[in-house]
């Protein structure tokens, strides 16, 4: 395993295969911590972590906060509403003010792509991206990769489909980057209006037919329709989407016997997947959530250990 040298985690683009593997290996050790009776280690004692969530979140926010607490760091939460942002302060000013209270790391989620970069350029504190617009959600992709590796034993050579609203999905973009770098063959599948033009350049195949796509896949990752980002009419109706791209028991008959169904959450039952699939034997949705804490512990541990920005 290589030594970690980065101060921030902004996306997966710049990370080498070895760096991705270092995070996944480190997360493996942290998973055991969460299974103990005493779920806490003193590794980040005395460090202060601020989570700055300027977009709604339950899983990611809770997961990061638990991860920080299990490493003995002190955490505070800030959100957009009720903060000084609503009084006209810019986000950089706000972050600098937070940093002035001797904060070591800021976890940021924002509706606009690039905000974590802007903060990283302006702060001495470490910055971890918890999702920026439609661009990147590195820790989600890492926890998905961790779950695949844990369940399937490898990522290299696996056939993986990402299905749904690819256009608005930061989870899809980060997963494409990470999974292809670790050697998976990734296919994106969805209605043509929700597949970004030129996505092939990221090294993926494109499909518009889920019945055909699902046949030979080891892993099928379903995405939610991001209605909050869909400002035009991309679909005739939700019902039609569910019929064509929703995964239910019938559609799973086309799939491999050991197919694994993933979803980053929140799920819309009856749309991208049926209740019996979400709760069924193929689903690892809750394992993803469990693994999220371990992966985020690894990210916080590694980034907080690197003193100066080298990247």
């Amino acid at each position: 395993m290589d030594k970690w040298t980065r101060h921030h985690l902004l996306d997966l683009q710049g990370l080498s295969k070895e760096e991705l593997e270092t995070i996944l290996e480190t997360a493996k050790s942290f998973k055991e911590v969460s299974a103990r009776e005493v779920k806490k280690v003193p590794a980040l004692r005395g460090k202060t972590i601020v989570s700055l969530f300027l977009e709604p979140s339950t899983r990611t926010r809770g997961s990061f906060e638990l991860a920080a607490k299990r490493l003995s760091a002190d955490t505070i939460n800030m959100s957009g509403t009720g903060s000084s942002l609503s009084k006209g302060e810019t986000i950089v000013d706000m972050a600098k003010n937070i940093e002035a209270m001797n904060v070591d790391l800021i976890i940021v989620r924002h509706a606009d792509a690039g905000v974590p970069y802007m903060l990283a350029n302006n702060l001495k504190a470490a910055v971890v991206n918890a999702g920026d617009g439609c661009r990147s959600h590195p820790t989600q992709a890492l926890l998905d990769m961790f779950t695949i590796k844990e369940k399937k034993g490898r990522i290299d050579g696996l056939k993986i489909a990402i299905v749904g609203d690819i256009l608005h999905s930061r989870v899809a973009r980060s997963n494409i980057v990470g999974l292809t770098r670790l050697g998976a063959e990734v296919t994106v599948c969805g209605p043509s209006t929700l597949i970004p033009i030129g996505i092939e350049k990221m090294g993926v195949k494109v499909s518009y037919d889920l019945n055909e796509t699902i046949k030979d896949k080891d892993v099928v990752m379903l995405l939610r329709l991001q209605k909050e980002r869909q400002h035009e009419n991309y679909l005739p109706s939700i019902r039609e989407y569910a019929i064509q791209f929703g995964v239910n028991k019938n559609r799973l008959r086309h799939a491999k016997k050991d197919v694994m169904i993933m979803h980053p959450g929140p799920t819309n039952r009856g749309v991208e997947l049926s209740a019996e699939v979400a709760d069924g034997e193929y689903s690892v949705i809750l394992d993803q959530v469990t693994n999220g804490v371990a992966v985020r512990m690894a990210v916080l541990y590694l980034t907080l250990g690197t003193k100066e920005a080298e990247d």
């Binding site: 395993m1 030594k3 970690w4 040298t5 270092t22 480190t26 493996k28 050790s29 942290f30 055991e32 911590v33 103990r36 009776e37 005493v38 806490k40 280690v41 003193p42 590794a43 005395g46 490493l71 690894a298 541990y301 590694l302 907080l304 250990g305 690197t306 003193k307």
Partner: protein, 183 residues
Amino acid sequence: MAKPKQIMDAEGVNRALTRIAHEILEKNKGTAELCLVGIRTRGAFLALRLKECIKNIEKTEIPVGILDITLYRDDLTLASSQPIVHETTIPFDITDKNLVLIDDVLFTGRTIRAALDAITDFGRPGQIQLAVLIDRGHRELPIRADYVGKNIPTAEDESVKVMLSETDDQEDKVVVKKVKKDG
């Protein structure tokens, strides 16, 4: 730089471990409530070997755990990048057990301090004892070993290295050599 001096060979390591196994059994009056926990990396291999020694003597299997103390180190804030964390596996309840902690070299005592903290997070053993292959002195904390393979007087600028066939790709041996700074 001086040539490394060998102070123990494979047979020596083996004899020391066999003697420690006997001492552990004598002090604990058998294997009831006994368990071993080795500190990564070399302590873990020594623990597995001691388990085999004890099996040969008493014909019983005792539980063995492996402990990674990285997250409990007292120098985490000093390093320029985080040390690599490995898995801890203690697949049994340590509460009320007579737990023998095992490491290769006892030096400052800081590793053992971290290990004691880590073990406390897993439960409350009846007793914690310490077995080491080499005690080289220069303690910085009030810690001593219950079982010692060999005591070696060293200078602070010397390093003591235990090589084991499981991880070092060569026959077991213990060597001492001078280094510029730090062990």
